[in-house]
Symmetry: C2
Subunit: 239 residues, 2 copies
């Protein structure tokens, strides 16, 4: 057995919701029934169902059962840790990524603060633009610690840095903090983006942490106003 049991059950159940075995609005089998079906304990089933609930697939109702939620209606990126590539895959229009800059730098004070590192640390600085249907509307500025990512190439940046880090290097991203504001556009925005008459950009600042709780990437994603969209699915944990 390669995977955790509860994860396997989680995946089998999501499959059944996608292929229509379980329809939105219906109840799935009870925890006891599932425990019997999968020949496991109820706590293990509960772990799988908790995951389903946290990811918006079901809603547990005490005394009644677990109802399947309508996920088709929303197609929300589940809980916001979504890379550009994943997003692009979901869309139709023609999308291109241009690597504008790729170099090693020493951080100035602003970056030292954002990345909580010293001025001696070497940093990868990657600037990319994203074009939808020929218009450059997103400017992505990534800063990564050299000590964790020894090598970075233009090719990798054109694909997905994220995928490279996780799949090739085997580094696991654990959590991220996002901050969204709207700010006047800078000279840099005007240089790289097709700003039209817009004089503001939506700035998404992303702080990415690893499994060992160390901060390792700071990303600034700057979007032209009219092309920005963010979806979030928030579930209550604490009463």
């Amino acid at each position: 057995m390669r995977k955790n049991k509860f994860m396997r059950i989680y995946e089998e159940l999501t499959e059944k919701m996608k292929d229509g075995t379980f329809q939105a609005g219906e109840l799935i089998p009870s925890e006891n029934e599932l425990a019997a079906q999968y020949e496991t304990s109820r706590e293990t089933i509960r772990k799988a169902l908790t995951l389903l609930s946290q990811n918006g697939y079901i809603q547990k109702l005490r005394g009644k059962g677990s109802v399947v939620l309508d996920t088709s209606r929303a197609s929300f990126p589940i809980s916001g840790l979504v890379s550009f590539k994943e997003l692009a895959d979901q869309l139709n229009g023609t999308i291109h990524t241009f690597v504008e800059e790729l170099e090693l730098i020493r951080p100035e004070p602003y970056l030292q603060h954002q990345l909580q590192c010293s001025s001696k640390e070497e940093l990868w600085k990657v600037i990319r633009t994203r074009a939808f249907d020929g218009e450059r509307v997103i400017l992505d500025k990534d800063f990564l610690l050299r000590k964790q990512i020894p090598q970075l190439t233009k090719d990798i940046c054109e694909q997905s840095i994220y995928a490279y880090i996780e799949q090739e290097l085997g580094i696991t991203i654990s959590f991220a903090k996002k901050e969204i504001t709207v700010e006047p556009c800078t000279e840099e925005d005007c240089r790289y983006l097709d700003m039209k008459d817009f004089s503001y950009v939506v700035v998404v600042r992303n702080y990415v942490y690893l499994d060992d709780a160390s901060l390792f990437q700071y990303t600034e994603s700057r979007h032209r106003l009219d092309k920005f969209r963010f979806v979030d699915f928030a579930r209550r944990h604490t009463k």
Copy 2:
């Protein structure tokens, strides 16, 4: 005993992180130690620690322990389900809420779609503006189903609809979906807000669901560009 044991432990531990008993960067006692201290089973301790981890207080490290994260740096609203009142309590400036409209309506097609209700359903329509330091910068439009909220008064709307619903009516809000976009301002925005020269607003659409998975509130919160800020803390559940 009024509360769940794991919730009591969760709260005691958050206390210790706030009052400095546990410092950021340090390890908290191991699960076995905590189980002994609190005279409970390890699984119950694990439930409390899982909550702490999901809410950004600690990071669990296999083989090592659980380290306390630095929450002071961010002061993020935990996972995005934050009412205006909670936010206001955290800020310093003078803040006022004005109830501009409060009435019962029948939904037009757009609202029928957003709330998934029929045209015969009665709806509360509440329009409020929020002023920071004398400037009206947020326009909140709330739509609630009459059948769930029989009575609504100007007083309640001036305080917190959210608090009224949860505390007075005993209805529990379970989860919410958020959508953030930037849109040209409408005539309504100009009428109610001090728009200055801004011709766009940040629109946050909120779909609020109850414990029984029924949609019950649709809220549109419209912010002047320069006063908008959103913070999100996303943790990875699925591998």
